[in-house]
């Protein structure tokens, strides 16, 4: 009996000890993807890098009901609509609620500019630090990886920087237990704060521009290019020298000519590429192909320099994104009640086709509001490309007519606050009646050639204070650059600045407003110029038979000094002294 017990105990002990406990609980080797697996070959390294493209925020489709129209160009009824939230001046609602800045919603870009940005920067830094592990690649391929990593490190800093103001420039992979109390304000290359950060990112972009190709193979089309690096550089320099940023960097609220000439030079590099045929302004007939297509192809044209390449196609784009943002009327079009409609304030901006200003008001004040030939017709051709007005057809089916008169069905029973619907991203036929959405795709360009012409124009003008000024490396004048963009749209050429009070900058502002509307530029532009939006939002009220046209107040629009910058996350600003909150928040 004793023996049996002994044998039993021995077996018991042996069986337990031979299977070592540590081994049992260890990570199975096959579950461990090592650094060499990831960074060893061009193909797998690219797989690591590609997430960057998914981090990019598309301003009009990153999240449900979210756009970037923060200066009263559009408005919607619900408090959590981004245009409405911005109109109260309380940006906490944007950074903590539904917006491109917050972790909200789902899918690509879910985490918002702030979080996706920092994640992208970390990834870029990892890529740069692990470059040595890349063995299975040609030197050219190595350059492509390195170039993209530099590009994205700059890109994501830039996205945060221009909204939040100065941030630390992160150029190494941070350790969680290291010193993370990095200062917000610092000096670099003799510049401070916002401009110091810009100097860092321009440095990265210079490296990127040197490493990246002018064009990729067709299968890789959409990746960052030399042109994208120069474009971003031009834009970053333009911003850094603009009044708001210049003031933020311990200077005055004026344009800095140094930055302006550097911006013009960088923009000129892109224009040179255009002259070489790498880019071209797209003919006006195909203008909207830049933003949306119904043939299943990527909305990309010869004008596109950089944008998010989205996979999404089909009715989901309407049901989840565009429909909930710009489209009205669920059962007819597939939109819903939260239509972000264009205000009268913004509609008034569009010039007449002959280049004169639109005059608001009734005949008593000499205004055009009652004039059927002027109110919505014979305006800058870009008006009707960007905006649907009453009686426009949004499709082929007869019932897709826009009923935007008082009580009209397209107004969603008053829940659409203004009788103008965004058309730019909403092509004809994409609605329930015509069901033209099976191959619908839409996108908002981050950088496109028309904007580069306008950056060139503004920078060359501000550097020389002369509408006929040029950059040091390119011969086109500022005015010619603006006219190039106007010519494409068929809008009258500017020969005299009288309409613009002899202020070339107002012309630039007009062009940027109109050419780039609803693409997420205006809020950044008005801020950098330190110009506050109108304090009241208006709509037009009229009946079905056009017997009256009344301008009515929609609501006030609040934009205080604090609205020049986004509020920083409270957790961060209350963690240590070196990271103070922006003024007013």
């Amino acid at each position: 009996m004793k023996n049996i017990f002994r044998i039993f105990v021995t077996i018991f002990i042996i069986s337990i000890t031979t299977v070592s406990c540590e081994d049992y609980l260890d990570v199975p080797p096959e579950a461990d993807i090592t650094e060499n697996d990831v960074f060893g070959s061009y193909y797998s390294f690219t797989g690591f890098l590609d997430q960057m493209y998914r981090y990019i925020i598309d301003y009009n489709s990153a999240k449900i009901c979210v756009a970037q129209n923060f200066t009263g160009e559009t408005i919607a009824v619900q408090g959590w609509n981004t245009a409405q939230a911005a109109s109260t001046g309380n940006y906490w609602n944007l950074v903590n609620g539904r917006s491109n800045f917050n972790d909200y919603g789902n899918g690509d870009g879910k985490f918002g500019i702030w979080n996706e940005g920092w994640a992208g920067i970390r990834r870029a830094n990892i890529a740069l630090e692990k470059l040595d592990l890349l063995i299975d690649a040609t030197p050219e391929e190595k350059n492509l990886i390195e170039g993209q990593a530099y590009f994205f490190r700059a890109f994501f800093h830039w996205e945060i920087l221009r909204a939040y103001g100065s941030i630390p420039y992160i150029n190494s992979v941070l350790a969680a237990d290291g010193d993370l109390q990095l200062p917000r304000f610092y000096e670099y290359k003799g510049k401070f704060d916002y401009q110091a950060c810009t100097e860092y990112l321009v440095e990265d972009l210079e490296k990127a521009a040197a490493l990246l190709p002018e064009k990729w193979d067709s299968t890789d089309e959409g990746r960052a290019t030399k042109g994208a690096a120069f474009s971003l550089m031009a834009k970053a320099l333009l911003y850094a020298g603009s009044p708001l940023m210049n003031e933020f960097s311990r200077n005055s609220a004026t344009f800095d000519t140094g930055y302006m000439s550097r911006a013009a030079n960088a923009a000129a590099e892109v224009l040179k590429l255009a002259d070489k045929g790498v880019y071209a302004l797209v003919p006006f007939d195909n203008y909207l192909d830049m933003f949306a297509r119904t043939d299943g192809l990527t909305p990309t044209t010869t004008e596109t320099i950089f944008q998010k390449i989205k996979r999404d196609v089909g009715s989901g784009e309407v049901n989840t994104f565009l429909g909930r943002l710009y489209m009205p009327h669920q059962s007819l079009f597939g939109g819903n009640a939260i239509t972000e409609a264009v205000t009268q304030n913004f509609v008034d901006i569009f010039e007449m086709a002959d280049g004169t200003k639109y005059i608001p008001g009734g005949p008593d004040v000499g205004g055009y509001d009652f004039d059927n030939n002027k109110r919505w017709n014979n305006r800058d051709p870009r008006f009707r490309k960007a905006i649907y007005v009453d009686r426009d057809m949004a499709g082929i089916h007869p019932s897709t007519i826009m009923n935007l008169y008082d009580g009209g069905s397209t107004l969603n029973g008053g829940n659409t606050l203004s009788p103008y619907i965004v058309h730019k991203m909403w092509p004809l036929g994409v609605n329930k009646k015509d069901a033209g959405w099976n191959n619908f795709r839409y996108v908002t360009p981050h950088l496109r050639l028309a904007e580069i012409y306008l950056i060139y124009a503004e920078a060359a003008y501000q550097a020389t204070k002369n509408a006929t000024g040029t950059s040091s490396n390119y011969s086109m004048t500022a005015l010619a650059a603006v006219n190039k963009v106007r010519a494409r749209a068929g809008q009258a050429q500017v020969t005299s600045l009288a309409v613009y009070n002899n202020d070339f900058q107002s012309l630039v502002r007009y062009e940027r407003d109109v050419e780039l509307c609803f693409e997420g530029h205006r809020w950044y532009d008005m801020r950098r110029w330190k110009i506050k939006p109108d304090d009241t939002l208006w709509k037009m009220s009229f009946d079905k038979n056009y017997t009256y046209f009344n301008r009515e107040i929609i609501q006030p629009f609040i934009f205080d000094d604090r609205n020049y910058w986004m509020p920083l996350p409270r957790n961060l600003t209350s963690s240590y002294d070196g990271f103070p909150q922006n003024a007013g928040w």
């Binding site: 461990d32 697996d37 493209y53 941030i167 993370l180 089309e221 961060l572 963690s575």
Partner: protein, 1057 residues
């Protein structure tokens, strides 16, 4: 033990064996049979039919007949064993032929005598830990409540169930909330749910059939839980299922039918009052929100609402009434058989439950009924084989198959109909029976009834098979009282998407104009005698605006989402048990080794088995039933931690002193029949945290099939995306809880009055903090590695007072239980510069925080004069004056301060009353909670809550209504107005949780139809609610898209034959 002594024990054992053999031999030689007959009675003298009478040591036995009589032949010298469920087993030695009357005593306290503890059972007297136990049959008072978690609400001190939903079958897809169970509150901001073991294996308890449950044991302190070590930190619930006992087969049938109703939801106001209130709000806010004027309703129209004169143009729809049935029906049926011989004891059961719907789901022409319901089949076989005298084999096979149906409508689309739809919106239904789609531009113009019913059916199937095999070998041959047990469990959980129905939900006429009536401005209201058909409809060929797509009958399938909750669990365990008495010394010991291997298929685990390894042990020693000492320990291994941290030892000690068993106590015993003191002290742990990942000590890379896409069109995919995985922290280790418990057990007057009082405290250190809960600057750029940062302390008490007595045949009892749980965060990774009142440290876990309103602004003067902070821009009389807590002249986020309590109750209490008289019994169980703050955000005229509620109107300030004590600001239409802390409500409540009236029909009446027992009863759950809240929620916030909590009336019977 010295070698000599050991030998002595063996010699002694051998000698006994020889004696026994000799005795048996002699017995056989001199076998003499005796004929024994007699009658078995219960204490009241009623004959007991069906009592098993067995000759001990043989398989020979009979059962008493209907009159309790039996006759059996037995060898002289053998014992007869009288066994009947619910009675104390009696053994009688037979020396001659005889006729005898046997009386069996009811085993009232059979459950109290034995307490189920971790990996074993103990006599209640020697228990030194804080353990609460509930008999399974108590659960049956809950009628058809299908979810065992819900059934535990208000039953045991120290156990809190947080619940706000009544969805049949529970939440499966994340759109609904599930009930949560907490033992002694929360001591960590990580998952604070207890470890649940069903028959010794970690399993979900929700779908266990309450009829199969023999007992539920709740282990609350370290001495009880430290044997579970790392998993014991949040308390342990042990569920033991029924097993067979030796005796004739007993069939039992339980049948229940329940009516259920919505317990309480907020009451919306009718068209007239609601619209009037809206008008008031519009006028009040006009100076700030002039466009609100457009929504003003004229006096004339108001009058139409009031009179109901033109119901088609001016509707008055009680939406909640239209969306909810008066009552739903549920059924439950359970059959079981149990019994056994010396060789095989068995328990088998089959259960069926059908939990019905209270929403008005119905087939109104769409071709299906999108009922919310849950059907479940349960089965269980528990077998115990006595293979040899020393070898036992236990085989458990249990499981269920459940099928949950729900309307296919997205939750956003129809719950408004139940909770917050204005009465002014009609349910658009035409004379021909077809429905109209609402006005789509108004979110709440959607026809919720149609949304609910015309969106198809979603079906979820889930099932689980649990298998245990347990082999037990007495090792008396080595030393008496030693046993070795091997156990293996294999569980499999699977989920599939059932054969639902897809419907695009457009079998509706589409109504275009701004109102449901006409877009002809010249039309007279008098002409509207039906809902208006829009022009498009009249002209359309098929009568509908859209061609109705055929229903999509889906087939049962496995989707990624379904598979992600699948798992299989393999657990094996080997243990040595020792249990022996030496005179006044009782000694027991346990040594145990177990491993577990769980495979999940969800994203985090990528199919790699999750592993765990446990070594555990226990030694108990009791002297003379007076002194008890118990040492427990667990040495656990977790794959979550790196080298040097993989294993941790969790010890505990428990001490007990039964003072009343002391000699000196004799004198006092007449009054105080029991006095026991116990104390425990020990450590338990936790290795689980939100999204902690499988190997958080180790940085790896992950691969993700979502690729970036380039080129023109979606055709070309880039390489698969690699990402940095969870960033590892090699120093990560266990969260440890130091728990202490002091208990007093008292009995008076022969234990008629008993009381238990437990004081406890806990300090939890090294709390695991993961990614988003860490405070690492965002520019770090990744979820920060997990770390052990944080300390909490909690303490509390549980008090129980029970009284039980009888006046002749009338037995009655009452019980009062009272508990307190308080916790405080001592240290957390708070941002340093935050003001102290905004840090988590220093406050309870999940402290409620809010802007605070000091009063309601009474006049314009106050607005112009007062320092109301920056929010004063749009303020009007009637709005809240918010407290500028930090006195910086601005009302901003810095003025959000702690208010009230967390959302789970600090205090709970139960009151139970009952009595029985000759087979009739009545019991009432009350449950209450206080010191709890619940968020009930109703809102008015808003996007998520377009209606207006009675509760708000009752509290509203207005100069006209001159409400005597307004607490709610003036009604608001379309302005951004602060609610202060108004919606942070006192969640105190008291409810009649269960009540039961039952009758045991006397034997005489039912014997003729072959029954041995028949019990009929009516009972109910959540019967009466006393609470100031407009909605029935317990410890969870109000959510306008929850399936409402229900109350239940149940009739049932339980028959044994």
């Amino acid at each position: 033990m010295s070698k000599q002594k050991k030998c002595f024990i063996f010699l002694k054992a051998r000698r006994s064996l020889t004696t026994l053999l000799l005795f048996l031999f002699v017995s056989v030689l001199h076998a003499q049979t005796a004929k024994v007959s007699g009658t078995v009675y219960d204490e009241s003298g009623q004959p007991l039919p069906g009592v098993s009478v067995l000759v001990v040591g043989t398989s020979k036995g009979v059962a008493t007949d209907f009159d309790g009589n039996f006759t059996i032949e037995v060898s002289v010298g053998n014992e007869l064993n009288f066994n009947f469920l619910g009675f104390i087993t009696k053994k009688i030695k037979i020396t001659k032929s005889t006729k005898m009357d046997v009386t069996l005593t009811a085993d009232v306290a059979s459950l109290d005598e034995v307490i189920v503890v971790g990996y074993g059972i103990q006599k209640s007297e020697s228990v030194v830990g804080a353990i609460g136990q509930l008999a399974g049959k108590e659960l049956n008072k809950r009628g058809t409540v299908t979810n065992l978690t819900d059934a535990l609400s208000g039953t045991l001190p120290g156990v809190t169930v947080l619940s706000s939903t009544g969805i049949p079958g529970g939440a499966v897809d994340g759109n609904y909330e599930n009930s949560q169970i907490l033992i002694r509150g929360k001591s960590t901001w990580n998952n604070a749910g207890p470890l649940v073991l069903v028959d010794g294996v970690e399993r979900s308890m929700n779908d266990v059939d309450p009829n199969d449950v023999k007992s539920i044991s709740v282990l609350k302190d370290a001495s009880a839980t430290s044997i579970f070590g790392v998993k014991g930190g949040n308390g342990v619930i042990l569920i033991t299922t029924n097993r067979g006992i030796v005796g004739d087969a007993k069939f039992k049938v339980d049948a229940n039918a329940s009516f259920k109703q919505v317990s309480r939801i907020p009451k919306t106001l009718n068209s007239y009052i609601g619209t009037k209130a809206k008008n008031y709000a519009i006028v009040n806010g006009l100076s700030v929100n002039p466009v609100g004027w457009a929504d003003y309703t004229s006096e004339e129209e108001l009058e139409y609402f009031r009179t109901g004169q033109y119901p088609y143009a001016y509707a008055n729809t009680d939406w909640a009434n239209e969306m909810l049935e008066d009552f739903g029906l549920s059924y439950k049926l359970n059959m079981s058989v149990s019994g056994g011989t010396e060789f095989l004891k068995y328990y088998g059961s089959l259960g069926y439950v059908n939990d019905g719907d209270i929403l008005k789901t119905t087939d109104v022409g769409q071709g299906y009924d999108p009922d919310f319901k849950y059907e479940r089949f349960n089965f269980r076989t528990n077998l115990d084989f006595t293979i040899t005298k020393t070898t036992k084999l236990g085989v458990n096979l249990g499981g269920y198959y459940g099928s949950q149906s729900r309307s296919g409508a997205p939750v956003f689309n129809f719950w408004y109909g139940v909770y917050s739809k204005p009465w002014t919106t009609p349910i658009l239904r035409y004379e021909d029976g077809t429905f109209g789609q609402g006005i789509d531009y108004e979110r709440f113009g959607e026809n919720e009834f149609v949304e609910l019913n015309f969106n198809g059916v979603n079906i979820d199937h889930r099932g689980e098979i649990n298998t245990n095999i347990k082999l037990e070998q007495d090792l008396d041959v080595i030393t008496k009282g030693l046993k070795i047990t091997g156990e293996l469990a294999y569980d499999n959980y699977f989920r599939t998407i059932g054969a639902g129905i897809g419907d695009d939900g457009t079998l509706m006429k589409w109504v275009d104009p701004a109102f449901y009536t006409s877009d002809d401005p010249n039309a007279n209201i008098e002409d509207y005698t039906a809902y208006f058909y829009p022009g498009d409809y009249i002209n359309s060929t098929n009568g509908f605006e859209f061609i109705d797509a055929p229903l999509d009958y889906q087939t049962e399938r496995i989707t990624d989402a379904a598979a992600s909750s699948d798992y299989s669990r393999l657990m094996y365990r080997i243990s040595l048990n020792y249990n022996r008495s030496f005179g006044k010394h009782d000694v027991s010991g346990l040594a145990l080794f177990s491993r577990e291997n769980v495979k999940r298929y969800s994203g985090v685990y990528n199919g790699w088995p999750q592993k765990r390894e446990d070594w555990a042990g226990r030694v108990t020693y009791a002297f003379d039933n007076r002194y008890n000492i118990e040492l427990n320990g667990a040495y656990n291994g977790s794959e979550k931690f790196g080298d040097g941290y993989k294993f941790e030892f969790f010890p505990s000690v428990g001490l007990g002193w039964v003072v009343s068993n002391e000699k000196f106590f004799e004198g006092a015993k007449k009054v105080m029949s029991k006095l026991k003191l116990r104390y425990s002290d020990g450590y338990v742990g936790n290795d689980n945290a939100q999204n902690i990942g499988q190997w958080p000590y180790f940085t790896s890379y992950e691969i993700n099939s979502n690729r970036a896409v380039f080129g023109d069109g979606p055709l070309y995919n880039g390489p698969e995306i690699y990402s940095e995985g969870v960033i590892g922290n090699p120093d990560l280790h266990w969260e440890t809880a130091h728990q202490q418990n002091f208990g007093i057990e008292l009995g008076f007057f022969d234990d008629k009055l008993t009381s238990t009082l437990d004081f406890w405290k806990e300090r939890r250190e090294d709390i695991l903090v993961t990614a988003n809960l860490r405070n690492v600057p965002d520019f770090y750029g990744a979820p920060a590695p997990a770390a052990n940062i944080g300390i909490t302390e909690s303490h509390g008490y549980e008090f129980q007072l029970n009284y039980r007595n009888n006046i002749r045949d009338f037995n009655y009892w009452g019980s009062l239980q009272f508990t307190l749980v308080e916790d405080e965060i001592i240290q957390k990774e708070d941002p340093e510069l935050l003001p102290d009142y905004q840090k988590d440290a220093g406050f309870p876990i999940d402290q409620t925080r809010s802007y605070i309103s000091s009063s309601i602004i009474q006049s314009w003067d106050e607005i112009y004069n007062g320092a109301l902070g920056a929010s004063s821009v749009d303020l009007l009389p009637g709005d809240y004056r918010l407290i500028d807590y930090n006195a910086d002249g601005v009302i901003d986020l810095n003025d959000v301060i702690p208010y009230g309590y967390p959302g789970r109750p600090r205090n709970t209490y139960f009151v139970a009353l009952g009595g029985d008289y000759k087979g009739i019994s009545l019991s009432l169980n009350f449950y209450g909670q206080f010191n709890v703050t619940q968020n009930v955000n109703l809102g008015e005229f808003g996007f998520n809550s377009p209606a207006i509620y009675q509760d708000l109107l009752d509290d509203t300030w207005s100069p006209e209504y001159a409400n005597s004590n307004p607490t709610f600001r003036a009604l608001n239409y379309g302005r951004g107005v602060s609610n202060g802390h108004y919606y942070e409500k006192d969640g105190s409540m008291f409810r009649l949780k269960t009540a039961e009236l039952a009758y045991n029909i006397p034997q005489k009446a039912i014997g003729k139809i072959g029954l041995t027992a028949l019990r009929v009863f009516v009972n109910g759950n959540n019967l009466i609610l006393w609470s100031d809240l407009p909605v029935d929620i317990e410890g969870q916030d109000y959510n306008y898209r929850n399936y409402p909590v229900t109350k239940l009336f149940n009739v049932g019977l339980s028959a044994t034959f």
